[in-house]
């Protein structure tokens, strides 16, 4: 599979020259499977830019099908949806999986985003594409876009965010953004989900100091991410969801610190990438 980053920023888009290299768009990652199927994880503003690419292919002709995995529905993970050009094209089909008690509750959350007070779209019914909603069963494997997926909820401030494990042909990619662990660290169940991942994308919102003073927000520091990668014996760690106030230079420094932390914890063999908008990793 090929993983591509369309938005790597947390909380709110951060335009400006100081974010040009890593990018200022909010969370959105795509996966192209070996059979060329498409999986989208989270729908931050990066989704618009993915959509602008998709329009040129089968999605532009109304023949596209994609799986959408939603970690949770904070604005920075859904705000690109009304600007996803291919969702207006009849014939396209999207299967949206998210964290809700029922599929209709998940639909209701995205419907609220289109409310006429806030959006000129008024209702999801005005989107041309066919959208099916699925409430994810925690821990239960399911098949989508021809690959095996499992999801479990992580603590995220006063709420939870799903982490996803996507497996294809013996390779595994884990997406774990927006997570603030208790002092005891990730639960055994979460570590089981992360275990041995070839690629572990992990929330890396903060420096250690910023994480300490903002613990209630439910995000991780680079040190939390490094510790999780070592404990779960991940092969490669991807840093993601940088604070909106962090410049490119600061993210560079975060990556260097994260490398040191991995090494200090005995994870010298674990690869490290700070996710940057527009780049891809092949697995």
């Amino acid at each position: 599979m090929r993983i591509t980053f369309w938005g790597v920023r947390g909380s709110i888009p951060a335009p400006g020259p100081e974010t040009n290299r890593y990018g200022g768009n909010t969370s959105c990652v795509s996966i192209r499977t070996r059979t060329d199927e498409l999986i989208i994880i989270d729908m931050g503003t990066g989704l618009m830019h993915l959509g602008n690419k998709l329009v040129k292919g089968e999605f532009g002709r109304g023949q596209g099908v994609a799986t959408v995995l939603l970690s949770h529905c904070h604005w920075d993970h859904i705000q690109g949806f009304p600007f996803f050009p291919v969702v207006f094209i009849p014939g396209n089909r999207f299967n949206v999986y998210g964290n809700a008690k029922s599929s209709s509750m998940l639909e209701g959350i995205l419907e609220g985003q289109m409310n006429p007070h806030f959006s000129p779209i008024y209702t999801l019914k005005n989107l041309g594409a066919t959208i099916d909603f699925h409430a994810v069963e925690h821990g239960e494997p399911f098949e989508a876009s021809g690959v095996r997926i499992r999801a479990r909820p992580n603590p995220h401030g006063v709420t939870t965010a799903l982490a996803f494990r996507v497996e294809e042909a013996g390779k595994s990619f884990v997406y774990a953004s927006d997570v603030g662990y208790p002092d005891s660290g990730p639960s055994a169940e979460m570590l089981e989900l992360y275990r041995g991942a070839d690629l572990l994308l992990h929330d890396c919102t903060y420096t250690i100091d910023d994480q300490m003073t903002r613990r209630n927000r439910g995000f991780s520091s680079y040190a939390d991410a490094a510790s999780v990668a070592v404990t779960a014996q991940a092969k490669h760690l991807i840093m993601f969801h940088y604070d909106q106030d962090y410049s490119d230079d600061k993210v560079d420094a975060l990556r260097d610190e994260c490398r040191k932390e991995l090494d200090r914890l005995g994870g010298e063999s674990i690869g490290l990438t700070a996710a940057a908008e527009g780049t891809s990793i092949d697995l």
């Binding site: 709110i12 040009n20 200022g24 904070h74 806030f118 959006s119």
Partner: protein, 309 residues
């Protein structure tokens, strides 16, 4: 007064090197009457950095007062509000003004922006004192020495234009609006755009003409007019029902109202800096000899109107 642009982009923030010069943040303008507390127009993502700056003044000690005029509650005009730092400081006061709606109180509309599961901090728990003021079209009110007037615009779900008169000068903010010729935009959703050039329902046309003359009246003699010019002519023709104008529409209003400076604003999300330069360049050539100056708003642009210290 001083007018400063913090967000000039329409619809959705667009980070990236192609927007470095004009800026990728959504709508937010700061108006600072001489020696007075700030008036902010719209709370797009641009308000985040304005809030940080405010925190270095009396807002940092919880002694700040700001007035916020909201054109309408589409995401790109309110999405920065939960990231406006002064709201997290006890003692600060924010007066929020927006058009009254039939179905919901203003407070409920804004509270639903931050409710579970969309945002982790509910507005009701913010430490600052937020007071809501509902407006009707044509209402006049004062903020300190500043005189505020407003009129409605042609936009889905209806937006308000504001005029601020203070320090011997006047500025008008007119975003978002479609021109007043092809389609009447109000509460209902319009699926298919009209065929441009076909005659429209006389009752609707009459309503549009009233709206337009209300706007020209609001802009009369203003030193600065900030206008939604999201579209090129070609873009407008395929999207007349989206509720945005072209520079030609703004120029016609500026000319009729006799404004001194017209600022192109609410730039399309797909517009690069170079393309925006080109638009400005082309329209400057077309408006040679007009009695107003044409500019294109960019993040960080500051204009001084009338008396200033």
């Amino acid at each position: 007064m001083r007018v400063r642009f913090w967000g000039v982009r329409g619809s959705i923030p667009v980070p990236g090197p192609q927007t470095n010069r004009y800026g990728g943040n959504t709508s937010c303008v700061e108006v600072r009457p001489k020696g007075a507390t700030p008036i902010i127009i719209d709370a797009g993502t641009g308000i985040r950095k304005l809030g940080k700056l405010f925190m270095q003044s009396e807002f940092g000690d919880g002694r700040g007062v700001a007035h916020l005029l909201i054109s309408h509650t589409h995401w790109d005009h309110i999405q920065g509000l939960p990231f406006f730092s002064p709201l997290y400081q006890q003692g600060n006061e924010l007066h929020l003004f927006a058009r009254q709606r039939n179905d919901m109180h203003l407070r409920a509309i804004f509270e639903s922006q931050t409710e579970d599961p969309y945002f982790p901090v509910p507005m009701s728990t913010l430490k600052a004192d937020i007071r809501f003021h509902e407006l009707v079209e044509g209402q006049r009110f004062d903020i300190g020495r500043a005189k505020i007037t407003c009129t409605r615009l042609n936009h889905p779900w209806i937006a308000m234009a504001y005029r601020i008169d203070v320090d011997g000068a006047a500025m008008v903010y007119a975003s978002d609006t479609a021109p007043f010729t092809d389609i009447l935009l109000e509460q209902e959703f319009i699926r298919e755009p009209p065929i441009l050039g076909e005659p429209i329902d006389p009752a609707k046309l009459a309503k549009l003409e009233v709206m337009r003359s209300g706007l020209v009246h609001l802009c009369r003699g203003a030193d600065l007019l900030i206008y939604d010019t999201q579209f090129t002519q070609k873009e407008y023709c395929s999207r007349p029902h989206w509720g945005h104008s072209t520079p030609d529409d703004a120029i016609a209003i500026a000319r009729e109202a006799g404004v001194a400076t017209l600022a192109l604003y609410h730039h399309a999300q797909w517009r690069s800096d170079d393309q925006q330069d080109e638009i400005l360049h082309d329209y400057r050539a077309k408006t040679i000899g007009e009695p107003f100056e044409l500019i294109a708003a960019h993040e960080g642009m500051e204009l001084i109107l009338g008396d200033d210290d």
